[in-house]
Point group: C2
Chain length 415, copies 2
């Protein structure tokens, strides 16, 4: 007879699992910043020096003493003596005194004495008759500090510029380079052991006999794990034998930070996974049965401080529940700070009924029509893998809803 | 004096660039499917055989001839003779005849003669007194094909299961594995040559003297290129010498599929880049000046069939314009089909004025407040790199708007 489960809402189930992993963080390692995109910082990063380290101009123009320009207008310009040009990449050899200015290019270092820059557009160079020194007409006054970035205005010395737990992006790589930080400590990639079970399951490279199917889950989950920052280790396929499965799971638990067992589709292997997790370590099974579709039979466990997750054998259930439960575990182990997640706003084409109390995830296809996105659910008798391969994203129906209406605007999570 | 530019709207500028690259696609190569996530398929993928290859049950229950169950209800059950159990992973050795049924587990192969499965929940096994053959009480009728996936119902033989130009995700990996496809042809990663210019720019590993700054752009753009599926090749930093820059650009153009030159901040290097692109090959500069902020001085060119892009030296401009122009070029070269892009809906905290006709991109920080996301623009005197490192995403103000209002719901592109 089918096993009866007490179903937990997915958010609550996830929270329960994660709360047991509070001390399960992986180690850290030092890596080169230019290979660090996607990695998670293991420490706060403090600025070793201010940025910029010298006052710089943000425009092309003339470095001046702001007070010398006060009152300058189109009709009543101010005249300043041009005493030189600031070299790019070098310290100016001169100082600006009262009534003087110097040509300066964007990014150039402000000479001593100068405190502002007048944009080129508001100036004109004139050469007085018989005069050896060129003069600059200034048509617009500038305030102290105008068009200048002061020392430390971007970043002060010892300022925390990147927090521990940040997932590094191109922008952070740039910030680190600006400070001359060429390597940093990041969380080691967690190792995720993947086990498939089922007498009917064979390696994808083999030709199935009637009644056999190829292993999909080890590969979809491996792809998801690698994409999410982990290292996937495939342990292979194990038949419906409790002792063999238990031994494989124990080995994986010893060698990895997380173990995922995808059940064969028969009832016996589904029950077997829960029993293996119970025997593998303490506290064992935390959640058996989640109020979500697909994914009701998902098992969340912790054995000796490590997450052990039993996923349904159906490839769509396994992958959708991988997104829901495996990815957050990987993020938690790496110490990643919670991040906003992007979705795509689209108009639903049809009514989607749902059972109140249950969280549903529908595979949807997106099409651009009349300037908006249209979300078309992919219906099918069963959750076959090509349902997901044909989908652009997943649409969630919250537990408190009994469905979504045709024409409604919905948020689709791209996969 | 500053160069005056005729500014093109960014969408139009991008279209102009891409239309010149229609024949510039990169080659393809064969790779293992389990290492193919993120790669772009070079061919359509057709199913070598149907899926499933045998009729399977989607539930645990009894395989029956549907017509034997017609009329069965709770109060008036039908009785069928149990003749066996379908083994997992094997072909059943028996056939279902009139009045017979067999125990079957989810995923099991339907025996000959059976055309539907009654779920276990709607059955009960009874053992008649003195009877050697167990009988099954059926409380619910099933239709022909109910709870069964027929041969080819997921995918028919020769059906196109993945289109050319698809960016492979875990779901596609699963689909390919289900079909026993272990390797496939994908677009070769395009090589993107990166050149930095400016007398003031030094390698990030060096200690800057007053007036010098570290090269940020080669590294942020390399990170963006790698993240977008390309291979970044850094050619280093070149001073403000036309001949030296031209030679470096010619070398990069010869060795790479795309060349990106980030200008030093002085006016002379900015003008130099355009001239180098003009001399490098035909047709040369296509667009000089784009009506966007940041990024006005961006140069889009094509030399002998390859894109050559001049980006502003300011690190935020360079990276934002990398997202706007370099990423689409990489996607085009790989032949990637256009994909929906996810954003995050958030409420803007302040008024953001903008110039009509110009497309603005603001760096924003996101915060969750009272169950919604709040987008807070990051203001700063200049576009410094830590503006972007502190930002969660970019907010676009369309050219036809003169700004966005505080309280408005906006779509933020996460970076």
């Amino acid at each position: 007879m089918p096993e009866f489960l007490t179903l937990l809402p997915p958010d609550q189930a996830r929270e329960k699992l994660l709360s047991h992993l509070s001390k399960a963080k992986v180690d850290s390692e030092s890596i080169a910043v230019d290979a660090a995109v996607g990695r998670v910082t293991a420490d706060d990063v403090l600025a070793p020096h201010p940025l910029p380290e010298f006052p710089r101009t943000t425009v092309d123009g003339y470095a001046v003493r702001a007070r010398d320009t006060f009152g300058a207008t189109d009709s009543l310009p101010t005249y300043l003596n041009l005493i030189g040009e600031v070299p790019m990449g070098d310290e100016p050899s001169f100082e600006i005194e009262a009534g003087q200015c110097a040509l300066i290019h964007t990014g150039g270092m402000l000479p001593h004495g100068a405190d502002a820059v007048v944009m080129l557009e508001y100036t004109q160079q004139i050469v007085g008759v018989g005069s050896s020194r060129p003069e600059i007409e200034i048509f617009k006054s500038v305030a102290d500090g105008e068009n200048v970035i002061r020392i430390g205005e971007d970043v002060a010395k010892d300022q925390r510029v990147i927090s521990k737990g940040t997932v590094l992006r191109p922008a952070e790589v740039g910030g680190l380079m600006a400070l001359g930080i060429m390597s940093l400590r990041v969380a080691t990639k967690p190792k995720i052991g993947l086990i498939s079970t089922g007498d009917e399951v064979i390696e994808p490279s083999q030709r199935p006999r009637p009644g056999q199917v190829r292993d999909i889950n080890s590969y979809t989950l491996a792809a998801l794990v690698e994409k999410s920052g982990g290292i996937a280790i495939r342990y292979g396929i194990f038949g419906d034998s409790f002792e063999v499965l238990k031994e494989a799971a124990a080995k994986a638990l010893h060698e990895c930070d997380v173990v995922i067992i995808t059940a064969g589709s028969s009832a016996s292997t589904r029950d077997m996974t829960a029993e293996v997790i119970r025997q593998l370590g303490e506290p064992g099974v935390l959640v058996h049965g989640i109020n979500t579709r697909p994914g009701k039979p998902t098992i969340l466990g912790v054995c000796n401080g490590k997450a052990v997750i039993g996923l349904p054998g159906n490839p769509v259930s396994a992958l959708v529940n991988g997104y829901l439960f495996v990815v957050p575990v990987i993020e938690k182990l790496m110490g990643a700070l919670p991040k906003p997640k992007a979705t795509l706003r689209a108009q639903l084409t049809v009514n989607l009924p749902s059972q109140a109390g249950r969280e549903d995830w529908w595979a949807v296809k997106l099409k651009a029509e009349n300037g908006i996105w249209i979300a078309e659910p992919i219906f099918g008798k069963s959750n076959l893998i090509f349902t997901l391969a044909a989908a652009d994203g997943l649409l969630k129906i919250n537990p408190d809803a009994t469905g979504l209406s045709a024409g409604e605007m919905v948020d689709v999570a791209l996969i």
